[in-house]
Structure formats: structure tokens, C-alpha cells
Amino acid sequence: MGRKRIIDYLLALVIVISLNFFLPRLLPGDPLLSIYGEDALITMTPEAKVELTRRMGLDKPLWEQFFNYLSGIVKGDLGYSYYFQGPVLDLLLGALPWTLLLTGLALIISTLIGFILGVESGWRKGRLADQGLLTGFMFLNGFPDLVIGLFLLLLFGVVLGLFPLGGAMTPYSQLTGVSLLLDVLHHLFLPLSALVLTEIASCYLLTRTTVVTLLEEPFILTARAKGIKPKNIRYRHVGRNSLLPIVTRTGVRLGRLFTGALFIETIFAYPGMGLLIYRAILGRDFPLIQGVFFLVAVVILLINFFVELIYPRIDPRVKNNAY
């Protein structure tokens, strides 16, 4: 990957960190107010205010504050959450695995199913199966994850009582081993389904469009002429080439999945980063908000970077120093 591109990524990181830092401090008024919010400020004693101001270095010049902020990040000190009364880093590390589990699984499952269905559908373009799938997924695509999550919760959780209404595990159950695993899966099922259902449609549509366009290419004719079995043409020739746009869009899709996770975790009270942010925003806990954004931004940037790095392996037409 070209140097320019790496610099782009670093610049992006810098922008995120800076925005995170400068936004509250640029708003008019007492910075403590912006950072801790009105409610917190009201309950704070004057001594606490002074202490916090000193601790957060708000009385120091701006550039020194920025430097402290940065060095804090490097040291792993992301601030202190007033709402949860604990270091931000700990809170993040507690919530991260759940979100990774949810989003990761959702990404894999929706990609797999969406892709395969897209290929099969595109191959049979015009026939009943394709028409059915297409219409079905177009409808599905129209529902925002909010609505799907709600629907699943209400139907399967409330009305049918098949699944728990919230949380990642049954609290205080102290299960271990397989039963723990089953419990987790049981709690995971609805939120995961909601997320998967949302994402699968776009994956399917993208694949199908690519496949349909690809089928007109001469090399597909070559493959047929060589007497290749239809299944092999579908996957070895069409499929492989259709993967490309999906991989390229991984970054975008992750962003979308994260937003989706935000809403789904909120609806299902699933203790991941999404719920954390929600609660943080409700409680106007700015250090937490900053911390979460920082972490998520870094993760997504890393993944994007990684995808760009390996893309030339998948598509040999892209030269390694494309930028």
C-alpha cells in the first residue's frame, strides 16, 4: 500500500482524536458543563468542581490539555466516567466483547447467506426463484433495523415468550461450560437475527447486481465453452469476481452494522458498546462517549486498513501501489 494511503489513515485517526477532543471544548460556556453535562454539574460540590477542573487540566492552556489528552490515551487512561463511577477503559473493555460477538457473527452470517443467495439468484435471473427472492429482499431492505428489532422483540419475546427480553446472560445464574454457552446463545439469538436480517438484504442485492452484470462478460462464455459444470462456473468464476465489491464495502458495512448494533442493543438491553453509548448519551457522560467513539473509530479504521491491505491479493488487477 502506498505511503500516501498510510498517511491518509493516520490523518483520519488524527482528525477523529482531535474532533473528539476539541468539540466539547469549543462549545461556548463552562467546559466542565459540556464535558459533564448540566445534571452532573448541579449535583457536584464546588470542591468537586475545582478538583475535577484541576484533574482534567481545564485551567491549563489548550495545547497542554491536548498533549495531556494524547499522552493519556497512550497510557491507556481514557478518562473517568462520572455516570458509571469507573474508569472509562474498564467499561469499554467490559462491553467490547459482547459487541464484537454480536457484530462479528452478524457480519459473517449475513455475508455468507447474502452472498450465496445473491449468486444463485443472479444466475437464475428472471425465473421464479429469483423474482421471489428479489421481491422478498427488497421488502426486507426497506425495514430499518429499528423496526426489525422491535418486531422480533415483540413477537418472539413478548408475545411468544420464546426468548429473553434483554441482556446477554441470565443474571446471577453462575452457569458454566456448555450451559453458559447455551444461555449466551439464547440471549444472543434475537438481537443477532435482527442485525443479520437488516444486513443480509443489502449484501444480497449488491451480489445479485454484480452477478447479473458479470454474466454478460466474455470469460463466462469461455468457461461454458470449456465444459465447466454450472455450479463451478457460478462459484469459481462468477462468485470469485463478485466477492470484490463486497470486500471493498466491508468498511462501510461495518459502520452500518455498528449503527445497527447501537439500536439493537438499546432495544434488547444487550450490554455492548451500543448500549453503553446510549446510556452515556442519556446521562450526558462525555468522557464515556469520547472513549467509546475513540475505540470504535480505531477499530473500524484498523479493519478498513487491513481490508485495503489484502485487497490486492483478491483482485490481482489492482497494483500494490495503486495510490
Binding site: 465444459g227 463451478n232 469476481n241
Partner: protein
């Protein structure tokens, strides 16, 4: 080996291949030539059973009708029995697989070899087509055009098919690469039966031993390559060869005027054929054997227009013509060359009936001419050497051009003027009243000669005898007049007997040449041959004396 019977392919309402019949014996290399839209690629694809249109008829490989087989069985035959080298170099390979993988793929897919063996064979094939082993590890976009073509050829050979089909194997290549690929293909073609589809006549000439000329989905002419391309007998093939620039062509390029109509009753070529007769638009000509080749033409190919047998003319003791025989076909230019006194003008005069020959016969359109009457003159016209002389000073332009019509009593006065104006436009002279009222002495040499041509053309003759039409003119005017005459030939299918002493000029405009010396024909043949390899010493002498810029 391969038999195509009554193949008809339609796309929607469009019939692209019409009742095609063709047999390719084992070991033959057949080139199917034609212009774009003739249906060549459709034909090629159908031989693999990959044509997306509606296909009717039979394609029989060694007794098995490919088209009647269900798709799974066709798949088994593909690449094993018959394989194809595609046209689109850039997009016929899968961009994300290496070249080697793609060459190995058909071997593995049909379970002929193990992975290791397939790889060995793939490298062997790469070597055979002249590609370094390292190219196998590369991806298609990393290869040059010529290399991609070689890779496609290698890929086609993997399962040792008996039949090879190639779709424009040299179209996208430059000259040198083309030559090298042709070399390679000649090697590859040994022991295989090949159908080669192309619009490039020189490739067809180099690689194929037989050729089929395709026009609008029908075969017009079929036979040995050498015969067909060097001496085309079907008017379309002739037009095709004339329009293809090769190093040995001497005559200037001429196109095929107009364009064919889709829904054509009768012969597909009838619409633009210059020798068509009424039946041509009603009856579809079948491919019939004539000599060594087969032709689809109701008239049996290019017909003979004028035949002169043994013409002898004596002027008080001097034998001007001694047993001269020559012939002119439809739509061709025959040059009669020789020095002054060789009898050229006498020949012209005898042909026009202005002098009576002592011996010999003249046949026009198959009939012997005994009387030179109006019908004859409507079909055969002459242009004389000196335009100043041959146009009366008493008549103005309009009257000059109308004169033949008046004599032949053709049309009403308005119609005659109309025809006259058209003839003037054809020779690029103005048709306004101002010009029409001018007299001969007000016109330049070039204009006069054009006027003479217009006058000759107004009767719409089939044969024009031009006796030194440009020797009295400047070179630049000469060029324009010759250009004009050749255009007229292209547009109207005019046959021209061109009499001249200027060999360089004759070379540029004629299809065939007769060399006249002292009233006798000493050499005759195709222009391409006579001017490059003259046999008779007299011809050689003439050529040496011809205008040239060389330093010898």
C-alpha cells in the same frame, strides 16, 4: 468430420444464418470469411452449442448431431471434442485466476488428469505456443495482446480436441505479431480439423486450404483458398477482394456500394449486385458446383460481357489486328496496352462497329453481334482520345448530352433533360442553365472529357470502351478523370475496356491486362501477375520503359 445441415439461426425476428450447409472433412482448415454482421461469430458459437439465439438444423460431428443432444451431454463434448479460441483477448479470461490455473481447469474439470499431470501438460502447452513458464503464474491483464492470444490457443489445446474453432484470431493484433501467430497456428493446425472465422483475407489465405464466403448468413462461394481469393467468381467475393488492401494488389481499392436489406426475397446479395436480373429478387440461389468451386448465384457467378474471338482486320495490306481474342466480364476493367501502332484503336473501332473486321466474331452478353444497332449502342459506349474533336461545336452542353437520347428516341423532352442533368452531376459538372448553354470552345480539356463521359453514360451502358481517354490531358486532370471512371464502375457496375499506352496508369485501374504487339496479343493475365512477373519479353520491355522514380 463436421457436417452442418440446414442450419438456421434467428434472434427474435432477425434471421442471422439462413439454411447453411457445409461439410468440413477431417484435417481441413476452412476459413469462413465475410464482413461484420454476416453471422460469422454466430456460426462459430453455434458449432460449440453456445449460440444464444434460436437454432434449427443439424451440426454433426462424426455422425453425432450435437444440437440434438441435451445440455449435460453437450457439456461433456465441449473442449474434449471441439474447442474454441475466442475473439475478445481482453475479456475472455477470468481476471482473478492465473493463466496456468485457467489452462489446467478444463483438464481437471473433465477429470482427464491428476492435478500434477495437468500442471505438467499446461506448462508443456505454454511452451508449445511460445510462452515462458513464468507467464503461467501471471494474471491475464499482465500479458500483452500477442501473449494473451497464445495463451488462448494453449488453453484450447488442453484436452486434445479433434476440432478447433477460431474466432478472429488475428483481429486485435499488429502486423508483426499477426505474422508470428499465423506461424504458430500453422503448426497447431496439423492433424486438426479447423474452422477459422475471420474478416482478414490475408490470414485466411495463409492458414486455410478452403474458404467459404459468408454474406448475410448465406454462403456465396466455396472452394480452395487460392482459387477463390486470387480469382473470385462471385460478384460479392470479387468486391470483397477488391476492397481488401494487400501488398500485391495493384488496382486501387474499391468498395461495395450500398448496403443489403435485411428482409430480402431471393438472393441476399441481389440488392447491391450490379449484374442482377429479375429472378435474382425472387429465387434464392443454391450453392452449385462449377468447376472446382461452389457458387450461389443464379447467373453462375460473374458473367461474361464481351467476348472477342480471333478478330482480324486488314487495311490495304497492313494487318492491324491478327487473330485477337479477348474477353471482358461484368464489372471489371480490362486494359489493352501496347505501343502506338499496335492496333489498339483499331480494336476499339471494330468493337464499336465503326470498322468491319475481316475475320472473327464478337459476342456481347452471349449473343453474336452481326449488326451494330441501337440496342447495342445503348449497352456499349465509347470515349475517344481527343475530346476537342469528338464533341460538335454546334451543340451546347445540354444538347450534347441529350444527343444519344434523342437518337434513341428515349423519353419525353423533360425526362431527357432530367437524365442529362443527372449524368452531368455524376461527372461532377454543374447542371445549372448557365453551364448548360455553354459551347464546347468555352470548356477546358478536362471539362470536355467529362462532358464526353457524361454523354456516354446518359444511355446507362454496361460497357464503356475508353480509348486513351486521358492522354491529351494534364496529369492532375487525368487523375481526376480516372478517379471518376473508377467511381462510376463501383457505383454502376460498369465494365471498362481501357485502351492505353501508359502502363503505370493501367496498373492502377485494371483487373486484367492484354498486351498487344503488332496486332497480336502476346500476353494476358491478372494485373497483379503481369505487372509483378511479366513473362513475355515484350511485356518486360514495356515495363522497363514505364514511368518510374526508381534509380535503376
Amino acid at each position: 468430420m463436421l457436417e452442418i445441415k440446414d442450419l438456421t439461426i434467428t434472434y427474435g425476428r432477425n434471421t442471422v444464418i439462413k439454411e447453411l450447409n457445409l461439410t468440413v472433412p477431417k484435417g481441413d482448415v476452412l476459413a469462413v470469411i465475410g464482413e461484420s454482421g454476416a453471422g460469422k461469430t454466430t456460426l462459430a458459437l453455434s458449432l460449440m452449442g453456445l449460440c444464444p439465439g434460436n437454432v434449427e438444423g443439424q451440426i454433426i460431428y462424426q455422425g453425432v448431431d450435437f444440437l440434438s443432444l441435451p445440455e449435460p451431454q453437450r457439456r461433456l463434448l465441449r473442449w474434449n471434442k471441439v474447442s474454441m479460441v475466442f475473439q475478445d483477448l481482453n475479456r475472455s479470461f477470468n481476471p482473478v485466476m492465473t493463466v496456468l490455473e485457467q489452462i489446467m481447469e478444463p483438464m481437471l474439470e473433465h477429470e482427464l488428469l491428476s492435478r500434477k499431470e495437468a500442471q505438467k501438460k499446461a506448462y508443456y502447452l505454454l511452451n508449445k505456443v511460445g510462452l515462458a513458464p513464468v507467464k503461467g503464474q501471471m494474471y491475464p491483464h499482465q500479458l500483452s495482446g500477442g501473449e494473451k492470444q497464445r495463451a488462448l490457443i494453449a488453453m484450447a489445446l488442453t484436452n486434445d480436441p479433434e476440432v478447433l474453432i477460431l474466432d478472429e484470431p488475428t483481429a486485435a493484433l499488429d502486423g508483426l505479431t499477426k505474422a508470428k501467430i499465423c506461424e504458430l497456428l500453422k503448426e497447431v493446425f496439423s492433424e486438426k480439423t479447423v474452422v477459422l472465422v475471420t474478416h482478414d483475407l490475408s490470414t485466411a489465405y495463409q492458414l486455410a486450404n478452403r474458404v467459404a464466403v459468408l454474406y448475410q448468413g448465406r454462403i456465396m462461394e466455396l472452394g480452395l483458398t487460392k482459387d477463390i481469393l486470387k480469382n473470385p467468381r462471385h460478384p460479392y467475393t470479387r468486391g470483397l477482394v477488391r476492397s481488401f488492401p494487400t501488398l500485391d494488389a495493384t488496382k486501387d481499392l474499391q468498395g461495395i456500394p450500398g448496403f443489403g436489406i435485411e428482409k430480402q426475397e431471393g438472393c441476399v446479395f441481389a440488392n447491391i449486385c450490379t449484374q442482377r436480373i429479375a429472378d435474382c429478387t425472387k429465387i434464392i440461389p443454391k450453392l452449385e458446383k462449377r468447376g472446382e468451386r461452389e457458387i450461389a448465384c443464379l447467373r453462375g457467378g460473374v458473367v461474361n460481357l464481351l467476348k472477342v474471338e480471333d478478330l482480324t482486320k486488314v487495311y490495304s495490306g497492313v494487318t492491324a489486328l491478327k487473330g485477337v481474342s479477348l474477353d471482358i466480364e461484368e464489372g471489371e476493367t480490362v486494359a489493352v496496352v501496347g505501343e502506338s501502332g499496335s492496333g489498339k484503336t483499331t480494336l476499339a473501332l471494330c468493337l464499336m462497329g465503326l470498322e468491319k473486321a475481316n475475320q472473327g466474331s464478337i459476342y456481347f452478353q452471349g449473343e453474336k453481334i452481326v449488326k451494330w444497332n441501337k440496342e447495342f449502342y445503348q449497352k456499349v459506349q465509347m470515349i475517344f482520345q481527343n475530346p476537342q474533336d469528338c464533341i460538335s461545336h454546334r451543340l451546347n452542353v445540354l444538347e450534347t448530352v441529350c444527343e444519344p437520347l434523342v437518337i434513341q428516341k428515349l423519353g419525353t423532352p423533360e425526362e431527357r433533360i432530367h437524365k442529362a442533368k443527372k449524368a452531368l452531376r455524376d461527372v461532377e459538372l454543374p447542371d445549372e442553365d448557365e453551364f448548360l448553354n455553354r459551347y464546347a470552345h468555352h470548356l477546358s480539356g478536362g471539362e470536355l472529357q467529362r462532358l464526353a463521359i457524361a454523354r456516354a453514360l446518359v444511355l446507362e451502358p454496361k460497357l464503356l470502351i475508353a480509348d486513351e481517354p486521358t492522354s491529351a490531358l494534364d496529369a492532375s486532370i487525368q487523375a481526376k478523370i480516372m478517379r471518376l471512371i473508377m467511381d462510376l464502375q463501383e457505383k454502376r457496375g460498369l465494365s471498362i475496356l481501357f485502351i492505353t499506352h501508359d502502363l503505370a496508369l493501367a496498373r492502377k485501374v485494371s483487373d486484367r491486362v492484354f498486351v498487344l504487339k503488332d496486332g497480336q496479343v502476346v500476353e494476358r493475365g491478372l494485373s497483379t501477375q503481369i505487372f509483378s512477373l511479366p513473362q513475355h519479353p515484350y511485356t518486360r520491355k514495356l515495363l522497363q520503359a514505364t514511368a518510374n522514380f526508381s534509380d535503376f
